[in-house]
Amino acid sequence: MNLPGPVVLIDDDKDDQAILVEVLQQLGIGEVRLFDNCPDALEFLKKTSEKPFVILCDINLPRMNGLEFRREINESEYLRQKSIPFVFLSTSAIPEQVNEAYMLTVQGFFTKQFSMQSMRATLNCIMEYWLHCVHPNAVK
């Protein structure tokens, strides 16, 4: 799968990181910017000249959780204009968190799958969707 920019992945769990990176590699996605916390990811997004293809973010993270991270992006005019698709990838889908996520105008909320096969199907679905979708970050 040939993406026009790197995938930004934020997850503090080392085992989940390993599985998700492997699944992305299986999909032919080698360019992954991996962070185990949101403040570092936020700094990267503010400074990078790259055009990340999509942000995959866990919800329950130390220091700044995924919802707070999304709020920070929304409050930054620069990052808002970048229009990077933002997708939550969480172990659980608590209704309150799902509701709050969509109040923050995220582009998706998915639960992590137990097997790599199912995880690959989920990530493939996300990537294919955004590959075909025209959005400000994809327009050259």
Binding site: K14, D15, A18, I19, E22, P62, S115, M116, Q117, S118
Partner: protein, 133 residues
């Protein structure tokens, strides 16, 4: 991956911080009722480290093999016979619930994780532990 663990103990306080790379967490372990020291001893934590490592590795490797694991129970025991002497006879038992998979598949996974579990292999191979003054 750099992992660290810190204990700050004084009378009636036992502050424990563990960290993996930049991910810092506190663990609530009470101090000894007598006042000084941790109510959970190092031997218990060492065996818990083995159980935890096996548990996490089993889920991770199960995912890689597209297996759906419902639950994992691990019990580790060992003998600390005397003060100043290392533990001996460390053994562990595992119960894995994965109804969608055959006993052979589950057994193969258990055997595989036993071979690759990082904490297990650290103890099996031995590691330098160096005091820095």
């Amino acid at each position: 991956m750099i992992i660290s663990a810190t204990i700050h103990n004084r009378r009636d306080a036992n502050a424990i911080v563990v960290q993996t790379d930049s991910n810092r967490k506190t663990i609530n372990i009470p101090g000894k009722a007598e006042g000084l020291g941790s109510s959970i001893n190092g031997g218990e934590l060492l065996l818990l480290a083995l159980a935890t490592c096996f548990c996490n590795d089993l889920y991770r490797e199960g995912a890689r093999k597209n297996m759906t694991i419902q639950s994992v129970d691990v019990t580790v025991s060992g003998t600390f016979a005397r003060e100043h002497e290392p533990a001996t006879d460390i053994r562990y038992q595992v119960n894995v619930q994965a109804p969608a998979h055959s006993p052979q598949e589950i057994n193969d996974l258990i055997q595989f994780v036993d071979a690759i579990a990082e904490v297990h292999n650290t103890l099996r191979k031995g590691a330098h532990v160096t005091l820095q003054m």
